[in-house]
């Protein structure tokens, strides 16, 4: 069996109201790693996800998933999607286990009657995300982190090899974030392809292997170490970042020329430490 992958060839997306959300994105993403999709709000992260899932039709270009056309890949239940919290109607009368069971619909027959295997998959997914004790809760009765975990559990129950997560870290505490990161790591280690969008810079180096910087087009793509530089980030985020630089004189009394650069947009700040603030990345945010 060939490795799972996503191939993007010259993808452009224009919404019917005339807004050009993305132009000319070409990239190839391979399984077994976690790829971060980084950009400001409105950069087109969700749009790229929707293009990958065939939910918006690109005006130019082609998406190939594991060598197949999107439609075929979806039929095979290859792709799982974890939506942004704001996109979900939390008042909907469904229980946690109902939502996780939705991941199994693609495996069920015409009437969507769950089999024993479906129930088992749901139980296993709930266990793996530590949500077992909440399975009879209505989804609106959950905390921010639990809400996220329900949808990750749904993706696990679905069993797809490609998992797309749209801003899974917004609105949750650092502890839940770390638990999710550990889960994503183990999923990637099992050979899945994980694509995570975020506008939260600080956590990117701590869990991503690769990173795609986008702002209405692809700005840079590659391993975190080479691509996630201050120069690229300033390009991607423009003036949107709070930018604090503590240069040598503020830091120490000696002749050390190095400086600390702190880039943050809201949650975890990103810290650069070096002479120009350009090359070295501390592999952690402000994790205490």
């Amino acid at each position: 069996m060939s490795k799972n992958s996503i191939q993007l060839e010259n993808i452009s997306v224009t919404y019917p109201n005339g807004h050009h959300a993305l132009t000319g994105v070409t990239a190839s993403i391979e399984a077994g790693s976690i790829c971060g999709l980084v950009g400001v709000n409105g950069a087109g992260k969700s749009t790229l996800f929707k293009a990958i899932m065939g939910f918006v039709k690109p005006s130019t270009g082609r998406v190939t998933i594991s060598g197949m056309a999107v439609k075929q890949a979806l039929k095979q239940n290859l792709v799982c999607y974890v939506p942004q919290t704001e996109e979900v109607d939390w008042n909907f009368p469904v229980l946690v286990e109902d939502v996780v069971m939705m991941g199994r619909y693609g495996h069920m027959g015409f009437l969507r009657h769950p089999s024993k295997a479906d129930h088992e998959a749901v139980t296993a997914a709930l266990e793996r995300t530590n949500m077992t004790e909440f399975r009879k809760r209505q989804i609106g009765e959950l905390s921010g982190g639990q809400k996220k975990r329900v949808f990750v559990a749904r993706a696990l129950a679905q069993g797809g090899q490609i998992i797309l997560l749209d801003e899974p870290f917004t609105g949750i505490d650092i502890k839940t974030e770390d638990a999710l990161i550990i889960l994503f790591r183990s999923l990637a280690a099992e050979g899945r392809l994980i694509l995570v969008s975020t506008h939260n810079l600080g956590s990117v180096p701590s869990f991503c292997d690769d990173v795609m910087l986008i702002n209405r087009t692809l700005l840079a793509h590659g391993p975190v170490e080479t691509v996630f530089t201050q120069e690229n980030l300033v390009k991607a985020f423009g003036g949107m970042l709070r930018h604090h630089q503590l240069v040598g004189a503020d830091l120490h009394d000696d002749e050390d020329k190095r400086s600390i650069t702190v880039l943050s947009d809201d949650e975890r700040p990103l810290v650069f430490y070096g002479e120009t603030g350009g090359q070295k990345i501390t592999k952690h945010g402000n994790k205490e």
């Binding site: 019917p16 109201n17 929707k50 899932m53 065939g54 939910f55 979806l74 039929k75 095979q76 239940n77 792709v79 799982c80 999607y81 939506p83 996109e87 979900v88 109607d89 008042n91 909907f92 009368p93 469904v94 229980l95 109902d98 939705m102 991941g103 619909y105 693609g106 009437l111 969507r112 209505q138 749904r154 679905q158 797809g160």
Partner: protein, 281 residues
């Protein structure tokens, strides 16, 4: 005791009342099932729009000599599709577009009906005529309604998933466009089946209130469906019988009873939360 029994059996001695009661049960069932999807999808006012928009369809179908139900169906569906198209292709907001389309169609229908001699009774279209329906109406409406109800119940999980999370529905390979248009087609069919007996006003109410009552009381979708169905059946049957005894219009009475049930549900849930907070404190 006897008189209480007679209260229910006396109306049933008349054949037209039997038909009316049967009709209201049919309409109550199909509309209440649909209302659950509409309330959850945020399409509550789509029922309002589509049921007004059938008017020109009725007039034109009469002129063309085809069954009125078909004209109504086409016009209703056209309204839903035109709303979607205009919204996608202009910067006007969805609610405004919906208002423009259905009021425009209703106005056109009004002009047509006052202009051409049709046997479309405007007041019957507006208010329904549940006491004057014929055997044939009953069979026609029954078949359409049964068809819709069965489709919705059999496919309720897919439709619910589509309302809840269309993107996920797409990623697991469900035919999202088919579900979207299927829901609109079912809506138009439901309205057509109910229109003759219930009239626009009652149809609009019956496509909202049962679902809203279910939403207040239920935590899972199947419960919501069951509660909506029960509430709707109760209001339709009691409304029909009461309107016979008190000699009032049937459709408005049913709507008022539904609203009363909604109020009860609202009081019940707020009392429930109030006691829970007191116990906690």
């Amino acid at each position: 005791m006897d008189s209480l029994l007679a209260f229910f059996t006396e109306p049933l001695a008349h054949e037209f009342m039997q038909r009316a009661l049967l009709m209201s049960v049919i309409i109550a069932s199909v509309c209440s099932i649909f209302s659950c999807f509409l309330v959850l999808k945020g399409w509550s006012l789509m029922g309002d729009a589509v049921s007004h928009a059938v008017l020109p369809g009725l007039a034109l179908a009469f002129v063309a000599g085809i069954p009125l139900a078909i004209g109504a169906f086409i016009a209703g569906l056209f309204c839903a599709l035109a709303t979607g198209y205009l919204k996608e292709n202009s910067r006007v907001k969805e609610d405004a577009v919906m208002g423009i389309v259905f009021s425009g169609m209703f106005a056109l229908g009004l002009v047509l009906i006052t202009k051409i001699e049709t046997d479309v009774h405007l007041l019957h279209v507006l208010f329904g005529n549940i006491l004057g329906i014929t055997q044939r109406d009953l069979i026609e409406a029954g078949i359409i309604a049964l068809l819709c109800a069965v489709i919705m119940l059999v496919k309720r999980k897919d439709l619910m998933l589509y309302c809840f999370d269309p993107v996920h529905a797409g990623t697991i390979g469900l035919p999202v466009r088919l579900l979207h248009f299927g829901l609109l087609i079912l809506l138009a069919l439901t309205i057509v089946s109910a229109l003759k007996a219930a009239g626009i006003i009652l149809v609009v109410a019956m496509l909202i209130a049962p679902g809203a009552i279910g939403f207040l009381l239920a935590r899972s979708f199947d419960h919501m469906l069951a509660i909506a169905l029960a509430a709707s059946l109760f209001s339709c049957i009691s409304g029909t019988i009461l309107s016979y005894h008190f000699d009032t219009a049937t459709a408005p009475l049913i709507v008022v009873i539904q609203a009363f049930l909604f109020l009860l549900a609202l009081l019940g849930t707020s009392l429930g939360t109030a006691t829970r907070t007191i116990i906690k404190a």
